[in-house]
Amino acid sequence: MKSAVIVFPGSNCERDIAVALEQVSGHKTFHAWHRDTDLPEVDVIAVPGGFSYGDYLRCGAMAANSPVMRVVKERAAKGVKVIGVCNGFQILTEAGLLPGALIRNQSLKYICKTVDLKVENTDSAFTRNYTLGQHIGIPVGHGEGNYVADEETLKRLEGEGRVAFRYTDADGVVNAAGNPNGATNNIAGIFNETRTVLGMMPHPERAFDPQHGNTDGRALFTSLLESLS
């Protein structure tokens, strides 16, 4: 499995996700700069967390129009797997690779903690090593993670099994108490139509090695490895 991570000037999780990709694959992850107009041949492209260009305006809005994102869109169209985490998810929605948008948390505050999630679909390159309905814990760290979309889009996402992860309470129940940011339908992560693009607010790379206190994010990376080799 060969991978690339996209680096904007304000990205700050590129190393973290590269470590996870490199540890499962044994291959060095290529770091692509935001001004790059081409990428090496890779199987997975990660758009990492951070603050792309400062995100003082709408998160990810500028990044979505950067040179490198044109290449990411081309590769995504060819079926290359693309995962956007946190700011990466915001950028993928702004770039039109995923529907909907991520707005300010309902609390109006940044929130960093491990959240409970339910795995809603295991029929994808990203989630095959989870079990359907599995209750996992993965950290979030964001101020704008409140997923919104119009009704038609939501109907399609739900009807087509494109919700990847949903926030739950500590008992695994999808409810308001377990929703950290006000996301519609407790949506924490979604796929595109072909389930080759995944955007998620939680950081699987922060629940990867035993010293993180929790390795529930690891299956996402091993899923990619197995489906791509």
Partner: protein
Amino acid sequence: MSKTTHSPDKEPVVTAQLAAEHGLKPDEYASMLESVGRTPTLTELGIYSVMWSEHCSYKSSRVWLKQLPTTAPWVICGPGENAGVIDIGDGQAAIFKMESHNHPSFIEPYQGAATGVGGILRDVFTMGARPVANLNALRFGEPSNPKTRHLVAGVVAGIGGYGNCVGVPTVGGETNFHKAYNGNCLVNAMTVGVAQTDKIFYSKAAGVGKPVVYVGSKTGRDGIHGATMSSAEFTEDSEAKRPTVQVGDPFTEKLLIEACLELMATDAIVAIQDMGAAGLTSSSVEMAGKGGLGIDLDLDAVPQREAGMTPYEIMLSESQERMLMILEPGREEEAKRIFDKWELDFAVIGKLTDNGRMVIRMHGATWCDVELAPLFDKAPLYHRPTEPTPPQAEIAASEAPLKASARDTLLALMGTPDLASRRWIWEQYDSQVGADTVIGPGGDAALVRVHGTPKALAMTTDCTPRYCHADPVRGGAQAVAEAYRNLITVGALPLAITDNMNFGNPEKPRIMGQFAGCIEGMADACRVLDFPVVSGNVSLYNETNGEGILPTPAIGGVGLLKDSTLAIGSGFKNAGDVVLLFGDTKGHVGQSLYLREVHGREEGAPPPVDLAAERRAGDLVRGLIEGRRLTACHDLADGGLAVGLAEMALRGKHGVALTGLDGADAGLLFGEDQGRYLVTVAAADVAAVTDAATAAGVPVTPLGTVGGDALTGLGGGALALADLRTVHEGWLPGYMAGDAA
């Protein structure tokens, strides 16, 4: 930009009155006149006034700071540089410092706190380190004060807003509430970074003719006179000082970190210094001054955000996210390419000279031409009078009997402002970016791996201001000892500290006596614990309308754990483990939170610190953790034994069945005797661990067994963890949501 030109002869004439408005005392102005040899220009007055301000010159504190131990075989660079540097093995160094941003944060909490974080980050990456963790130490007024809620919300959002964006995890800290901070909150920010020992950068300039280079954000009119503001007491009109607070841009800081580290990987930099307090003035004076050189600056070349700025404004601006460097000649293009890549301004604004003078030109005129040396050599130095704090009476536990059952007293204490959970605060900080955080906020010490190595750095911030107020010497020693103890609990070897000395008006003998006393206690503890001071910051004049804060020498401690997998947490880990108490309990209730909260008495002498016993207990615990004999460890501090047990239970989500505590008095349960640790061990290891403690001369007391979902064995019946959690977690979110304090 408009082509406004200024000329020196249109500026106000400098008089004794104008000098006084710049904060210079009459004798200081006289000394300045003598150094300059003529009536200074306005620009020169501005430069002198900030360099000789308390903030930049440490004129009241220097004589005392010299008493602190600052050396050890592992200290690479002690106080005097941008930050302290210690050796952590394998050719790596930890670089760290803590710094206050108290006055700006009180005036404008979001930007004040944010730029406090930005400033301390720059102090650390200036020296070649990649910042790996941020911590903070915060003190606010009493919760019932109408301003407190607003300050907490703004400061916390500011710290998070800045730290989260630059991608440095905020992993620890402490927060207290006390009425002494009603008019003057404290925001102390600490950054820890990691560098290669052969790639450490200093601020001493060398090489006549070498270019002086400005990088980072453009210079605006923000923050002019910030250093002077921090060197005077607050009054009712401090709101009017809002324009002196700087505005932060964490995205630019992130770019600046990356660009500087990229340039530092080459050998193009001779010296580098961030533009912090007093901006371009202090950075240029310090660099040239340390090198014994002169400096010529051409301010027309300084990137400017606003039109028509005067030399005075440019030299005194505290605009954020700016650095000054001396480059090797001929390397300018290479350096500029890196800053172009990161889309940051880069300008050659002058050169080093051999005449020992600071010469500033703009618009074809000379605005400043003074000898450099007096700016730091002749800075005032005061041996201010001190008045010792009168000794307080020792209070016997029998004077402060329990007023309710032990269970109910504990439950109530766990929901008081100083003991309630700080989750509401630290969940607003990204504590995990970097994916190397092993122990984050909410533990005794934070633990962050040194990336790509088995090592980890432990860090903590500590101070108990009410102890320092009652007995500065004991309080100073206690602050250092508590930092030491917190690092021990995760298994680290404590290596060094940074200190952030927050005090009131040094011109008052009582305040200066507090300062001197705290230094004495700190120095004793540093010596006995082999825990030198490598960097620090002094913030004086923390007074409003004549009311001083509690003396607050905040200590930031750093330790090293060679194998991060040895680390243990502070929560009960396994049901069936046995709880042991290390250390001696005499039942010291003076200055305890129990005495204050239950009896309404903030009185008495604080607990003494037996430094030799502290060292013995610390070495014992660290050895046991290295031998993987312990399963959890927590030091005892505010609230004493019962609170410590409750915290371990909540953190570990296990109850505990206590033995021998039913009927215990308040001194035993809630006294704050120092030098104590609660540890848990597997039942099979109890005998060996007890023997080890006895052999080390550390008293050991078995207290019970981990298990269940309640604390049992306290007088008054079982205390369910669920109830305890509700009270402990409930106070701060409720308060911030507007509940009555």
